[in-house]
């Protein structure tokens, strides 16, 4: 009974926050709702007995991906108002197409029936005596090693791609120069001021910026 209550609670919050991700006006709010959606999905994983997957979801998606999204949203100066232009115009068409697709998928899933082999696989999927993390690792590094290594290659390609498309050699490579950083005296970087209480903050004296 209590399990069902929790299940419906997590699912409801998940669905609502997923909807908010795409409807929120402020992109930062969208990302925050996305994090909420991930957390609820993780809770559902825990309820299904997949604790390891839940942790991975939180660590990877909330810890890395969503924060990265947040960075991108904040750093890129994208005019979201301009992006929304035409939203009203295409709304009816988009809604129609989406509704038709949804109805079709719903109809098909209503009549979905797994084959005999699937029922067999579902009945025997759990290996006795192994935790889920251990069984995932067991499969990943033996049976699916080939795919696992290829996925690594995929990440290498993504990295090369990002560097090839963005790194500009020559003009002003923004490289870190440790020697120069260490050479800077404190006086160049730090100014100590003692503001008098109640007098407000006086503007700092203009100083040449050390890059």
């Amino acid at each position: 009974m209590i399990e069902q209550i929790f299940f419906y609670m997590f699912s409801a919050v998940l669905l609502v926050s997923a909807c908010m991700v795409i409807t929120a006006r402020n992109p930062v709010h969208s990302v925050l709702f996305l994090i909420l959606a991930f957390l609820n999905a993780a809770a559902l994983f825990v309820m299904a007995g997949a604790a390891f997957l839940a942790m991975v979801l939180v660590i990877v998606y909330v810890g890395a991906v969503a924060v990265l999204f947040l960075f991108v949203v904040m750093m890129l100066d994208v005019d979201f108002i301009a992006l929304r232009e035409g939203f009203q115009k295409f709304l009816p068409l988009g809604l129609t197409v989406g509704f038709v697709l949804m109805a079709e998928i719903g109809l098909s899933l209503a009549g979905f029936e797994a084959s005999g082999t699937m029922r067999l696989a579902a009945a025997t999927h759990r290996v006795a005596g192994l935790s889920d993390a251990a069984s995932i690792g067991d499969l990943l590094y033996t049976r699916y090693l080939y795919v696992f290594e290829l996925a690594g290659l995929l990440l290498v390609i993504a990295m090369i791609g990002a560097i090839v498309l963005t790194l500009t050699e020559g003009a002003r490579p923004r490289r870190q120069d440790l020697a120069r950083q260490h050479d800077r005296p404190i006086a160049d970087t730090l100014t100590l001021v003692k503001p008098v209480i109640g007098a407000g903050i006086a503007p700092l004296p203009a100083r040449e910026d050390v890059p």
Partner: protein, 474 residues
């Protein structure tokens, strides 16, 4: 272990070259491209070292069919790289990452061709696509190239999503991602079940995106036009072969029991592609866009062969793909050679007067255009002949009629290029061609023109490969 050799060799070769390129202070893009060509050629030898059979817990399969497709992929990639050397240097995008990305894309294609499980299929698909997205945008100072990369990426991501959704439905139905298990689940009374049919449709759509079959072709002309010409040459050959070979294996292997379900879909794809390719190419003035529409139409003919779904059909498809790769490399060799004072030109009108200035170039391009139009006795005629025969024998008469009408229509725009070269006045004044370009252009032209004298090696190999596919099941 021996079966993974080609993938391992190319992948490690790519990584070593990446390291060499990063560590070297000077620009070594020429040496690295040459090394990449050698790696691909050696991999072609390793393809034959790999023994037949299913290995790695059913993730990878090697047989006569996959070897044939591997060799075609490698051929396309080698041709594309040979064309890229001079072109990249001239247009200022000659960087060592280019051959490395091509090598990684080839790894993806070979994984794709030999995939025996939906997991390895998807990973191969993504490796190939990701490398191709970056290559399309490789000329990053060019707005059109960036646009091509972005368009390709967005639509490619969409198609990956559809493919994954289809895979999940198939898995939900069959309980396994292995091709053998899926074939077992989809045999007998199970074929008409709704879960399997839906999964099949989504998988088919995802793959149709990649071979630019209409109605999933929207990206093709823009990407062909925007991407650097050397990249387009690579796009037009290797990935098409890899995905088409995979499509044949998936449809006849795991989904072989559902022939009645997918035959109609493939027929529709084929008819739509042939029509779009024929009509869309009519009004193009940019030769790369023209080739984009040409590719759509040509894929329609291949799909027509595939729709027949028997051994003769697979044989026709393989012969078609082989000849298509050779002719495409030739045409793109000619396109890459179109430049004035180091700046590429792409309009068909720029070719005016070519016959008087450079008869050999004009004759070679004319041979390719005649070949693509399917005029006997050139190779393109025979490739069409085999797929039409397969389609008619399988009772797909309507499709064959559409094919004949559209190839007549398409002949109009292929012949227009020849007319511009031979009968219009003008002074092309193109730059000197390099050895790499000449090698690709003349080798392809000779192969296209003289195929009729010695068709046996290709037809025999195709027969063997088709037999290997049909007898293995997949």
């Amino acid at each position: 272990m021996m079966s993974v050799l080609p993938v391992l060799f190319i992948g490690l070769g790519g990584l070593v070259m990446l390291l060499a390129g990063v560590l070297a202070r000077r620009d070594h893009s020429f040496a690295i491209t040459a090394a990449a060509i050698i790696v691909l050629a050696l991999a072609g030898r390793l393809v034959f070292v790999a023994p037949d059979g299913v290995v790695l817990h059913g993730l990878l399969v090697t047989n006569g069919f996959t070897r044939f497709a591997d060799i075609l992929v490698l051929l396309g990639a080698i041709g594309g790289l040979a064309l890229s050397i001079a072109y990249n240097k001239r247009t200022g995008i000659g960087r060592f990452e280019y051959p490395v990305l091509v090598l990684f894309a080839v790894v993806g294609m070979i994984v794709l061709v030999g995939a025996n499980n939906l997991l390895s299929l998807y990973v191969g698909f993504e490796i190939q696509s990701l490398a191709l997205y970056v290559l399309a945008a490789f000329a990053r100072h060019s707005l059109r190239s960036s646009e091509a990369g972005l368009k390709y990426f967005v639509l490619g991501a969409l198609s990956s999503g559809l493919l994954l959704y289809g895979i999940s439905l198939v898995y939900g139905f069959a309980g396994t991602t292995g091709f053998a298990g899926i074939a077992r689940a989809f045999s007998g009374d199970n074929t008409a079940m709704i879960g399997s049919t839906f999964g099949l449709v989504f998988v088919l759509v995802g793959l149709a995106f990649k071979i630019s079959a209409a109605p999933f072709h929207m990206w093709t002309p823009d990407v062909y036009e925007g991407a650097p010409s050397a990249v387009t040459a690579f796009f037009a050959t290797a990935p098409k072969v890899a995905v088409m070979a995979l499509l044949a294996r998936v449809l006849l292997g795991p989904f072989g029991g559902m022939l009645v379900n997918w035959q109609m879909l493939v027929e529709i794809l084929a008819a739509a592609s042939m029509i779009v390719g024929a009509i869309g190419g009519m009004r193009q003035n940019n030769i790369k866009r023209l080739m984009g529409y040409s590719a759509i139409g040509q894929m329609g003919y291949v799909l027509m062969g595939l729709a027949a779904g028997n051994q003769a059909a697979v044989r026709g498809v393989l012969i078609y793909l082989t000849i298509y790769v050779v002719m495409s490399l030739g045409v793109f060799g000619c396109i890459v050679a179109m430049s004035r004072k180091g700046r590429p030109v792409e309009q068909i009108g720029d070719l005016a007067g070519m016959a008087a200035e450079d008869p050999r170039y004009a004759l070679a391009l004319a041979v390719f255009m005649w070949g693509l139009a399917g005029i006997p006795p050139l190779a393109g005629f025979f490739s069409k002949l085999y797929v039409f025969l397969a389609a008619v024998r399988a009772g797909l008469d309507g499709l064959a009629v559409i094919g004949i009408v559209t190839s007549l229509m398409a002949a109009a725009y292929y012949l227009r290029v020849i007319k511009v070269m031979y009968f219009d006045r003008g002074e092309p004044g193109f730059d000197q061609r390099t050895v790499g370009m000449n090698a690709v252009i003349y080798a392809s032209a000779v192969a296209t023109a003289l195929f009729i004298l010695m068709p046996a090696p290709i037809t025999e190999a195709s027969t063997y490969a088709a037999h290997a596919l049909m007898s293995a099941g997949f």
